[in-house]
């Protein structure tokens, strides 16, 4: 029986006056180099979806020179099916704040931001209170815990743009611009917010960092597999009996076990038609592909990716065209419009999908959709465009019999 492995999860932690920030105190005694060494030794990969090594990011930022450096918490969780950051922001926000301050101290950032999606009205209230209390208790401000380190954090509310979860779009958004992505390089660690070195980390990555410093890199690295260390918060939703946020140790179970044992199986005793393992930008997996180990490499070997950890279960009786249209509409609505193949391509694909005949398409139409998808992936600057066709293409490939009409040759 699969069990949760609670490294990040725990009792509600929101009262600044009774929490003594053990990770942060330890961090101040370690110093920046040792902190970064610990994060690198733990082999923490960014939990927002891209999986970049957090230790490397911090190390590169530490080496950068600038007038000032910025440390940003990316709380713009918007990938459909993902709600694990909201769990941390509502239940364990002090761990997130602790990770943010540790990161800032490690890279030498004096100014911090938490960029949170505007729809998260409850977490916004909670964070406002916490930031206020943290200033009163000396956890933010000058000379934090007598360390000589000065740091403060501003809360910035997003306003309904999914693409702002991309770090360069998020930076533009804080600067008061349209939230469109930037061309990389320069990377944010070189030239980010107001052209200064900037680190952007996901909520879960920061909570992980706080726990790695608190419990030790060894504790974290001992969990999981060689290539996927630690635990992952997963958001399970869709046609599932127990839709919730679970924390699992990488490699300790298969996707199928997550669905059957943690998620209580497919709703109404049915079978899954397919499962989306990491949010709308990841390829669908069929029931016979779900015996893969839940780890970055396990999901990749099954032909998809772990993404943000949003597992969406789609039951056997669902209408594929209805789902294709939903997915496509999401990308059409949320493209920022800067890279025109992404803007126009996603719109055209949505149109083409709406022109189905009795839920069927010709193989030429499917090829055209794939072609447009390739053009978008090649031209798009950010992850949104690059992955916008992953799910749609995989559904066409795996359900070709159901979706592609046979052409009757007329002599």
């Amino acid at each position: 029986m699969v069990k949760e492995r609670k490294f990040l999860k725990g009792p509600r932690l929101r009262d600044v006056s009774t929490y003594d920030f053990p990770g942060l105190k330890k961090a101040f005694s370690l110093g920046p180099d040792q902190i970064i060494q610990q994060i690198s030794d733990a082999r923490l990969l960014g939990r927002g979806g891209a999986g970049f090594p957090t230790g490397t990011k911090w190390d590169l930022a530490l080496q950068q020179q600038g007038e000032r450096k910025y440390m940003i918490c990316n709380a713009d969780e918007g990938e459909p099916g993902t709600f694990k950051d909201r769990y941390l922001l509502e239940e364990r926000p002090l761990k997130v704040l602790e990770g943010l301050i540790i990161g800032a101290y490690a890279v030498g950032a004096s100014h911090g931001f938490i960029y949170i999606r505007g729809e998260y009205t409850e977490p916004i209230k909670i964070l406002r209170t916490i930031l206020e209390e943290a200033r009163e208790e000396g956890v933010l401000g000058e000379d934090i815990f007598g360390s000589g380190f000065d740091f403060d954090v501003k809360l910035v509310r997003g306003a309904g743009a999914y693409v702002c979860g991309d770090e360069t779009s998020l930076i533009n958004s804080i600067e008061g611009k349209r939230g469109i992505s930037r061309i990389k390089p320069p990377y944010p660690i070189q030239k980010g917010l107001y052209d200064q070195p900037t680190v952007v980390n996901n909520v879960e990555s920061l909570a992980c960092a706080a726990e790695i410093i608190n419990q030790g890199a060894g504790e974290f690295a001992a969990l999981g597999t060689d290539n996927s260390r630690g635990t992952k918060l997963i958001s399970v939703s869709g046609d599932i009996n127990i839709p919730e946020v679970f924390e699992v140790e990488f490699g300790s179970c298969t996707l199928n076990e997550i669905i059957e044992e943690l998620g209580g199986g497919v709703r109404r005793g049915k079978e899954p038609k397919f499962v989306i393992p990491g949010g709308l930008s990841t390829a669908a997996l069929l029931p016979d592909e779900l015996n893969c180990s839940y780890s970055y490499e396990g999901i990749e070997s099954a032909g998809s990716s772990l993404g943000s950890g949003a597992i969406i279960v789609v039951g056997e009786s669902r209408d594929l065209v209805d789902i294709l249209l939903k997915v496509s509409r999401f990308y059409m609505d949320e493209t920022c419009g800067t890279c025109f193949p992404c803007r126009e391509g996603n719109k055209q694909i949505n149109y083409m999908l709406s022109q189905h005949r009795n839920k069927k398409f010709t193989s030429q139409e499917v090829e055209l959709i794939e072609d447009i998808g390739e053009a978008i992936a090649a031209a798009a600057r950010c992850g949104l465009g690059q992955t916008s066709l992953s799910l749609i293409n995989s559904i066409f490939a795996k359900f070709s019999e159901e979706l592609i009409e046979e052409v009757i040759q007329v002599d």
């Binding site: 099916g81 729809e119 839709p243 969406i312 789609v314 999401f330 609505d333």
Partner: protein, 139 residues
């Protein structure tokens, strides 16, 4: 855009919208001056964000998520019931300025769908009946 110590553009426009219900033109003019930018730039930035309005909305902004996870929890039926009750389609405001209806992407409550937001308040696991009761209470 000019960096202003302690002033974040998005926070400023959120606060303006909280005061007036939308971002009136005179405020846009002031923002342009404050940030030393053409008005078009300020408009352009505001218009990028679906939660910011340059025209008055209804007193209650109703947002219904119809993203995939909610869709699998029958959000479309909820949406049809609400559309029918309010006599509004996506993006429309009622003539009495009481309601604005918006179909939105993911609100981050994917395990508790279908969900509806009324201004700042989130309602989860909604039946059609309960949703209509909530709307009636607004009237």
């Amino acid at each position: 855009m000019k960096e202003l110590e302690n002033e974040i553009f998005l926070e400023m426009v959120h606060n303006i919208q909280e005061t007036y219900g939308y971002i009136p033109e005179r405020e846009i003019n002031q923002l342009a001056e404050k940030f030393d930018q053409p008005r078009a730039k300020i408009y352009g930035a505001i218009k990028f964000y679906s939660m910011l309005y340059t025209e008055p909305t209804g007193k209650y902004v109703i947002r219904i998520c119809d993203s995939l996870s909610c869709h699998l929890n029958d959000s479309h039926d909820l949406l049809l019931a609400v559309e029918n009750f309010l006599g509004l389609e996506n993006g429309e405001t009622s003539p009495d300025q009481l309601f604005t209806l918006e179909v939105v992407e993911c609100l981050g409550h994917c395990g508790e769908g279908p969900v509806m937001m009324v201004n700042d308040r989130m309602y989860t696991e909604l039946s059609k009946g309960r949703a209509l009761e909530i709307l009636k209470e607004c009237q």
